[in-house]
Point group: C2
Chain length 254, copies 2
């Protein structure tokens, strides 16, 4: 699915040509699909540098995405290829800060920043990357203009969508609700003309992946508009019977 | 997104490398994603041969997928590329029978067959392909082992899923509910272990795309198991307030 992969100075770049069916009704790449590309590029980078999911799974560990922030200067159209570059900015104890640069038409149009943790699959607890790979030297400094994604505060969405169940099509290979489906389900409850207008695009999105959901679990997405910033929507996904447990939270800036 | 495209004797072949996030929990390509690839390959073929969607839209017409059948000999895994070939088998009045061959690991592992119609976007009525393109000579005979997808009879699913609304993430560029999301929403209500077991795969699927749904419409998927064939599930999507109107029907053979 990637057109090419190349690595230079610890920074890996992959090229993508989105198919028409991956575009939204505005013929733009949705944030969920972009997030899929980012995660996929991260995996390509990790794999090429010896700490990919398969390698980790052989050591009974895996990667978990904890937070992700995306900032765009303009919408991503489907008429030319997308180039995503990624690198490890910093390892802090149990978390890894991974960054991204997003380019199209020979122009940098956005950045992303993500926080990951390696977890012990048996204990379900995070571990230090440096414990699993004591001799890895993967950090690199590359100037870019986006901060690490912050922890989003709790809030009460005033408007809920219809409850839904985690089904076959939204399960990942770990039998959990696929991270990217969180984003889709949140965007699905937004008022279309106001929040996702034909000429608009996502300027910034900050996501927190807090809890996992399993097949058959009944979830619900809710949202509220920020009291001060008119272009900011707070969204979250909770369990229907435990609405205080936030599985996923996203701040979306139109 | 396609690795290559080549055409020989009116048959176009495109190569695909599914990304990990396109695989289901069994690490297999889902029928919804395969259907996306088939439709995309059809569009590549139509475009290369002068009757693609853009060309049709410039004449105020478009393509509509009416029926699709897929037959597989084994599951499609994500470890090697997929080669999809497509050709126009026959034009019958207002419908076009388009066929597909699906190959992986240098082996033909399945076939598909689809019925399309060109529609007049203003009148919303089907038109003869030969009226729009009187001098096209696109039919080709290529032996393959699957019949044209039949019209599925009406039936009453005895088990319904949760109602859902057509949201942003499932709208296509025509602002309609994306055809491939019909498949996902149907598969989501099936009992996982029984209908989509870890070692299983879809042997055959016949789909009828009967009616369109718009943003905000409230729909529901339902299913029943065939009374005679234990591996056959009848599924459909209807409007919540008009359950007699079948928007989408699928017969799925495990």
């Amino acid at each position: 699915m990637n057109l090419f992969i190349e690595q230079k100075d610890k920074i890996l770049t992959a090229g993508y040509a989105p198919a028409p069916f991956m575009l939204d009704y505005r013929k733009k790449l949705s944030i969920a699909t972009l997030a899929n590309y980012l995660v996929h590029t991260a995996e390509l980078h990790a794999e090429r540098n010896g700490f990919g999911v398969e390698k980790l799974q052989s050591k009974k560990h895996s990667w978990v995405l904890i937070r992700l922030a995306i900032e765009l200067k303009r919408a991503i159209h489907g008429n030319s290829n997308l180039h995503i570059s990624t690198w490890v900015d910093k390892i802090f104890g149990i978390t890894t800060l991974r960054c991204y640069q997003i380019a199209q038409d020979d122009e940098v149009i956005g950045y992303a920043s993500s926080v990951w943790s390696a977890i012990d699959l048996e204990k379900r607890s995070p571990v230090r990357m440096t414990e699993i790979f004591p001799d890895k030297n993967i950090e690199v400094t590359f100037e870019h203009s986006i901060e690490a994604p912050q922890k989003l505060p709790s809030f009460s969405p005033f408007k809920y969508g219809l409850p839904f169940e985690v089904g076959y099509s939204s399960m990942d290979i770990n039998k959990h609700f696929n991270s990217m489906r969180y984003i889709e389900r949140c965007f699905d409850i937004l008022p279309l003309e106001e929040a996702l207008p034909e000429t608009g695009f996502c300027k910034r999105a900050v996501m927190n992946f807090n809890k996992e959901a399993l097949h058959g679990e009944r979830l619900v997405a809710g949202y509220c508009k920020d009291a001060v910033n008119d272009s900011l929507y707070h969204l979250s996904i909770t369990r229907v019977d435990e609405p205080e447990t936030v599985l996923f939270a996203i701040d979306y800036y139109r």
